[in-house]
């Protein structure tokens, strides 16, 4: 039986708005796939009530890591948790990035917007193990929104950065940077995680260029296990159009299955 478990926080790194927690969980570390997520309980009390869905950022031996932005009451409280404290987690959950087939010398592009960079580190390491060629695009509003740049580079990964205010790297949206770069070298596969508007642009580019793309979607989740039907997005899957549960179908969804909302257009 799957169970929510109490795990110990083995390390914490903090930036202004971002937090990285390492958790000791040999069980999850041995099973987790890039793109999967955890449901994390914020408090044993009733407020905030719901667990928070947070993607698995890295697997290192018996440890797993999560990386998140302090953006609401839940993640702010989670950011206060310290080394040696226990955390109640449920996972790994959901379907990750498609890594079947031969990636050897395949050109892959990973695009992370803000906190959306989180699952791409785990993915990049898996793709590196498969001998893929990897370019990572990492965009933020300002230079403070790119805390993981060095971590990627320390792992020998090439990172292309952009900021909307021009305080670091390419000035503008990461999707514009990516769009200009792929003209020089066309990727075979695209993987992305970030805000819906960013993902929508990537889906459009991928469709135009006819490049398979997989997008990790974010959604408010009640349970993460398919029971509440709260996390739905509009998909067209096997000829059926409707509201699909992101926790069950995703969070990683092929770009050509997603039907974008008006506000993302």
């Amino acid at each position: 039986m799957k169970k929510a478990t109490q795990v110990i926080i083995t390390d914490r790194k903090m930036w202004k708005d971002y937090v990285l927690l390492s958790l000791k969980s040999p069980q999850i570390a041995s099973k987790a796939l890039p793109g999967q997520f955890l449901m994390i309980r914020i408090t044993p009390h009733s407020y905030p009530l719901l667990r928070r869905p947070i993607s698995i950022h890295a697997v290192e031996g018996e440890n797993i890591a999560i990386f998140f932005q302090k953006s609401g009451i839940g993640t702010n409280i989670l950011g206060l948790r310290k080394k040696k404290e226990m955390l109640d987690i449920l996972g790994p959950l959901g379907n990750g990035f498609g890594l079947k087939g031969d990636f050897s010398h395949k050109k892959t592009v990973l695009i992370g917007g803000g906190r959306g960079i989180a699952p791409l580190f785990f993915l990049a390491n898996s793709l590196a193990d498969r001998k893929a060629e990897i370019r990572t695009f990492y965009g933020g509003k300002t230079s403070h929104d790119l805390p993981l740049k060095e971590k990627f580079e320390a792992n020998g990964l090439k990172v292309f950065c952009s900021t909307e205010d021009g305080s670091f790297g390419y000035k503008g949206l990461i999707t514009d940077y990516f769009n200009s770069e792929i003209r020089q070298s066309r990727p075979d596969r695209i993987f992305a995680c970030g805000p819906d508007a960013m993902l929508k642009t990537i889906a459009d580019i991928a469709a135009k260029e006819n490049i398979p793309a997989e997008l990790s979607l974010e959604s408010i989740m009640g349970c993460g296990i398919g029971a509440c039907w709260g996390c739905v997005k509009r998909l067209k899957k096997d000829g059926v159009t409707g509201w699909f549960r992101i926790c069950q179908e995703g969070p990683v969804i092929p770009a050509d299955q997603i039907i974008w909302a008006e506000k993302d257009k």
Partner: protein, 302 residues
């Protein structure tokens, strides 16, 4: 060994803990986490005759110790349920209860007619109280006459016991409950969620696309408990209590107030094992106090 079994008259439960509709999927979603055989029963997600698309997201908003949902009863419809899901459930040794929905009275009847021919179902829970299907929160359970009418109709065609699920969004819930009893329902379950809303002050937009949703979770427990107590005092038929039950202590409050069984809802989202943990806690409570039969505690508020 404590005897946790409960006799509702029309149905025996191995214990009073039932997973509530809309929080437990179709049951099978929970098989990776708990053994369904341990439950008193579970109520599957509300079924209409036809598949239903549900509301556009956002469908959920968290509030202090609560959750407002406006799922809109998205579902696969009773035909697909009977063909694809029910056969996977009927071998479980627990009471399977089907939450029956309808746009109008004929649809409730059509769902029940179809399910009457299916094996393995212990009872129907008549959902006349979902607050987030119609834009203004309207549902039959807001009025004693419409409550009476739907219950009477379904009791005529049902081959199984009928539990009527009541709405708390009324002036006097005992009046609606009495109406359901007069129409012949075998039991009532209460409460469904409270009609509620939330606004984002920055955008001035409602947090839910549907504007209104149903509030559940610990925030509603004291009000739900009061309503269960009032209804249990007035009715002759069994009352199934629910509303923000998160642990054994919460469940005991409802039983002591007069509920003969309890449903566990929102707690399933936070801990998929919530139901079985509550059963263990009820067992421990009885053992520590040398209570041989849990049923003896029902309606014993001093």
């Amino acid at each position: 060994m404590t005897d946790l079994s409960i006799d509702l008259g029309f149905m025996k439960l191995k214990n009073p803990v039932i997973a509530a509709s809309g929080t437990f999927g179709y049951g099978i979603e929970f098989t990776p986490f708990i053994d369904l055989n341990n439950l008193g029963g579970f109520v599957v997600k509300g079924l209409y005759y036809s598949p239903r698309e549900g509301n556009p997201p956002p469908r959920l908003v968290e509030t202090p110790s609560g959750l407002i949902n406006a799922i809109g009863l998205q579902g696969i419809g009773v035909k697909r349920f009977s063909e694809e899901i029910l056969p996977r459930l009927i071998d479980y040794n627990t009471s399977i209860i089907i939450n029956v929905c309808g746009e109008h009275e004929d649809e409730y009847a059509a769902v029940v007619d179809l399910l009457n021919h299916q094996p393995g179902i212990a009872a129907y829970e008549l959902n006349i109280s979902c607050p987030n299907v119609k834009k203004d929160g309207k549902c039959p359970a807001l009025d004693p006459k419409t409550t009476y009418s739907v219950v009477k109709l379904i009791k005529k065609s049902s081959t199984r016991p009928v539990i009527t699920k009541l709405s708390p969004n009324v002036t006097d819930i005992t009046e609606i409950a009495f109406s359901a009893q007069e129409a012949g329902t075998d039991a009532v379950s209460l409460v469904n969620s409270f009609l509620a809303m939330a606004i984002d002050p920055n955008t001035r937009k409602p947090r839910l696309t549907n504007i209104f949703g149903g509030l559940s979770g610990p925030a509603i427990k004291p009000i739900a408990l009061r309503m269960v107590y009032q209804v249990a005092c007035r009715l002759k038929i069994p009352v199934i209590g629910m509303g923000g039950i998160f642990n054994g202590g919460d469940a005991l409050e409802f039983l002591i107030a007069g509920a003969r069984a309890v449903e566990i809802g929102t707690a399933n989202f936070i801990d998929p094992e919530a139901t079985v943990k509550i059963i263990d806690e009820l067992d421990n409570f009885c053992r520590e106090r040398k209570i041989g039969k849990l049923e003896t505690i029902i309606g014993t508020m001093k």
